[in-house]
Amino acid sequence: MKNLIGALIIIVLYSSCKSKDQAKLPILGEREPVTKTIDGKTVTDTVYSTIPDFKFVNQYADTITGKSLNGKIYVADFFFTTCPSICPIMHRNMLNVYKEFKNDDNFRIISHSIDPKYDTVPVLKKYADKLGISGNTWWLLNGTKDQTYQIAKNYLVSVQEKNPQGEYIHDGYFILVDKQKHLRGTYDGTDPEQVTKLIADIKILKAEPVMTVAK
């Protein structure tokens, strides 16, 4: 009888852990405890790093800032239109993400060009047309090299362990960012299986109640 109860407890604990893992994505990135005084009580809260504001131009020559993505879940990556190596396979896979969510106005894909000199607005527009994307779901962004390098650092500061050489500029990762601009996942954009997982994770994020914080 004792054994049976023990086994039951283990099963219940195990299954409760499992369902939690599936339903929630971790918040990546730096975190720091902040102590505040609210109504005379001392409360300690955890503050997670967020993606700072930025300013780029998309393929329609519209200015895109952090505000343009307020309240939206988005995926970011880095590419250039003349890239002969991993970009085609990345964007072949990203097209699946695009097709899945293109009717959702609270979702965006942003692809930063790391070759802003060549990838001007008309070049990006042409690339978008040839890729068969339209509307505002997927923005191809042009900015200065400094801005682009800086934002790349912001996206990947949390995934340094995967990338000790600092080769963030062209590592083929897709970065998942939530509505509060927290990093929620990184995926190898050249691997169709990981991109399938990305699509599943976006659905988890969409179902997440606003303002919840994973512990």
Partner: protein, 138 residues
């Protein structure tokens, strides 16, 4: 004794299977299987696992008529790259494919693979043919 007979019969069967394949077939198989690996390493990222290309950015490798009509040029494309426009499956593509660093024998192997996969069936493209084609490249 019995096991010895089994082994001998087995060996005879293996020998028969191999002799059934003509030298040509064996050469083709060698080129084709080596070409598979070269394709995966050098071509697949852009042209895709099934030679499907990428939308209007990268042409597919499934237009058998195009491949047949441009048999010699295929070698030149791989060796020197292409810049400009071409029509595949009746669709226009423009852009650039960089020159590859493949040796003539590697070009022969990967072309044998591509021109006999994805619904294409052009037979062996051997080293000699590739060398002849290279001389004709502009």
């Amino acid at each position: 004794m019995r096991s010895l007979i089994t082994i001998i019969i087995g060996l005879i069967l293996i020998a028969l299977t191999f002799s059934c394949q003509s030298d040509e077939q064996i050469e083709f198989n060698r080129y084709y299987s080596a070409g598979t690996a070269i394709y995966q390493a050098h071509c697949e990222n852009c042209h895709g696992e099934k030679g499907e290309g990428l939308q209007s950015l990268i042409p597919p490798l499934t237009d058998s008529t195009y491949l047949k009509n441009n048999r010699t040029l295929l070698t030149c494309y791989l060796k020197n790259g292409i810049k400009g426009s071409l029509t595949v499956h009746g669709r226009g593509f423009e852009g650039e494919m960089p020159a590859s660093d493949l040796s003539p024998i590697e070009i022969a192997k990967v072309l044998t693979y591509v021109t006999n996969s994805f619904g294409n069936k052009m037979g062996l493209i051997n080293l000699q043919e590739v060398q002849n084609s290279i001389e004709k490249c502009k």
